[in-house]
């Protein structure tokens, strides 16, 4: 038995419905520890819903998620969540450092306030994403890329084993995008597992090593080279993905038409 390589996430029979409209149907997903995985699929495929259901932010009609072999509730401390940037009000009166420290609130527990140790940890986390000089800046004065880095620092400070990120590349500049990719890959090198809801099919093969194709039903998941192929993309996106060439030795990322970005 391959107990030496436990699964980071195992989702069993997950079905989620909003107001009785199913958004996810009987999803089974197994993600081995230490991979960098993209969840791709068309709009409305339930990518964000999947992450939120794993985190039990929304109720599921059946099924649940297992994190390193135990139900999510027992493993919260191993998981870090990076929501979409648009989910919070960036005009909130607070500073970069303060938001980053929020990542430690769970470890602090009720009532205890962050102190010197937490500030030090926050500085380290901000340094990792290159925003240390913005530490006292009000969060409304940040660019999209900087906001995303703040969220990443808040996730890094949690020192989790598993990272769930919702569209971290959305609306960020090219420099930030590269920085994020480097960061994600270094997380993987440390043996952490990173799962990213991703929009841009062109970059899937270069950024990630694992992929899940989702469109309400799970189409497929596994190593990029095994799963990320025309056939599966067709099944995920219907007729929307045009195929320029069917030559077998062209990697799928170059095969994809520009319709998707």
């Amino acid at each position: 038995m391959a107990t030496s390589n436990p699964l980071a996430i195992e989702v069993t029979n997950l079905t989620v419905a909003y107001q009785e409209t199913p958004v996810l149907w009987d999803i089974d997903l197994a993600v081995p520890a230490g991979v960098l995985m993209a969840i791709v699929g068309p709009n409305g495929a339930g990518k964000t819903t999947l992450i939120k259901a794993i985190l039990e932010l929304i109720p599921s009609a059946s099924g649940q998620a297992w994190i390193y072999g135990k139900p999510y509730r027992q493993q919260r401390h191993l998981v870090s969540y990076v929501p979409q940037r648009g989910e919070v009000d960036w005009d909130f009166p607070t500073t970069v450092q303060d938001v980053v420290m929020m990542g430690l609130y769970g470890q602090l527990g009720w009532i205890r306030r962050p102190g010197r140790r937490e500030k030090q940890l926050a500085r380290e986390a901000m340094n990792k994403v290159d925003i240390l000089e913005l530490k006292d800046r009000q969060i409304s004065q940040l660019s999209g890329g900087q906001q995303q880095r703040v969220f990443l620092a808040r996730a890094l400070i949690q020192n989790a084993q598993l990272y769930l990120m919702d569209e971290p590349f959305q609306g960020v500049d090219a420099t930030t995008e590269r920085a994020i990719v480097t960061l994600l890959q270094s997380l993987r090198q440390q043996g952490k597992t990173v799962i990213v809801v991703h929009h841009d099919l062109h970059t899937v093969t270069s950024y990630f090593d694992w992929v899940m194709l989702l469109n309400v039903h799970q189409i497929d998941s596994g190593p990029i080279e095994a799963v990320f192929n025309e056939d599966n993309l067709h099944r995920t996106y219907g007729g929307h993905v045009g195929i320029l060439s069917s030559s077998a030795d062209v990697p799928p990322s170059q095969v994809l038409a520009n319709e998707y970005s």
Binding site: L57, E87, F92, P93, T94, V99, P114, Q138
Partner: protein
């Protein structure tokens, strides 16, 4: 100068004025501080709805206990205010009506019911009922020592709980979903926050009344937001603005004949808002223009 001196003198040594000023200052402080959260969570008008919804609770508490003890009335008002917010949520969640309509429905209907009950009470034979309408329009000038004691205790508890759960409330206001993943039961924290806001409103009703209460929740917080980018400073400033307006209102209405306290407090706090919007550094209109 002389007038100023006598005002300060009165503030310290005139028993009635001192009582009223302490009361309005405390109310202003609490509603300013808790109002910050309402404003940041875009629930500004919930204050208006809660204050109106409190009226039938006050009437019912009186009908059931035949007592006008502030504590009894405050409990009744809080429960009704609470019920009102729950109904607003139920309407928004289960119908296609939006926040605005749900808030308006609860506001108007609860208040109508309250007025209906108030007129019933006023026609009851045992004439122990005068004074309930104090909540309707607020009568800061009629605040008594026992009112102040109740206000002080409730305000103390409210502010204390707010400070105790500071970190949790910040999380609730900024990013509740993230808070949930950290293991905090955000629904319970939300409930706690709502209760504090209801308490702040209900206590404030005695000074400024149902109609003007929404300004006491919204205005100090809006003014404070312009001066700072820190939540703690914002809450502190809002409390100071609320308290300042409270004291100023009490003093002005005590020195000028025929001016009711509540409206003066609201005018003071509105002036603070306008001043802040125009002159605050960085965010203010003048700063941004030049």
């Amino acid at each position: 100068m002389l007038a100023m001196g006598s005002v300060i003198y009165n503030l310290f040594f005139d028993y009635t004025l001192r009582t009223v000023a302490i009361g309005t200052a405390t109310l202003g402080m609490v509603s300013g501080a808790l109002g910050s959260y309402a404003v940041l969570r875009k629930q500004s008008l919930l204050g208006d709805t809660i204050s109106h919804a409190a009226l039938p609770g006050i009437c019912l508490a009186f009908l059931l206990t035949n007592s006008k003890t502030p504590l009894v009335l405050i409990v009744g008002a809080s429960l009704a205010g609470w019920l009102g917010t729950i109904i607003v949520t139920a309407i928004v969640r289960n119908t296609r009506l939006k926040d605005d309509a749900a808030l308006g429905i609860v506001l108007a209907v609860f208040f109508g019911l309250g007025v209906f009950m108030l007129t019933l009470i006023q026609k009851m034979p045992n004439a122990n009922q005068s004074g309930l309408d104090k909540f309707l329009f607020g009568q800061a000038a009629a605040l008594l020592k026992r009112d102040i004691q109740t206000i002080a205790v409730i305000s103390g508890i409210t502010i204390g709980v707010m400070l105790l759960f500071w970190k949790e409330f910040k999380l609730l206001t900024f990013d509740p979903a993230f808070g949930e993943t950290l293991g905090f039961p955000m629904k319970i924290i939300d409930l706690l926050m709502m209760t504090l806001i209801v308490l702040a409103i209900v206590v404030g009703l005695q000074a400024v009344g149902v109609v003007l209460m929404s300004a006491m929740i919204v205005a100090p917080a809006t003014a404070a937001r312009q001066w700072t980018d820190h939540l703690s400073v914002m809450v502190g400033l809002a409390a100071i603005f609320g308290a300042t307006a409270g004291v100023t209102g009490a003093v002005i209405s005590s020195t000028t004949s025929g001016i009711p306290t509540g409206p003066v407090i609201v005018i003071c706090v509105s002036i603070i808002v306008v001043f802040s919007l125009v002159f605050a550094p960085k965010r203010g209109i003048i700063w941004r223009k030049y």
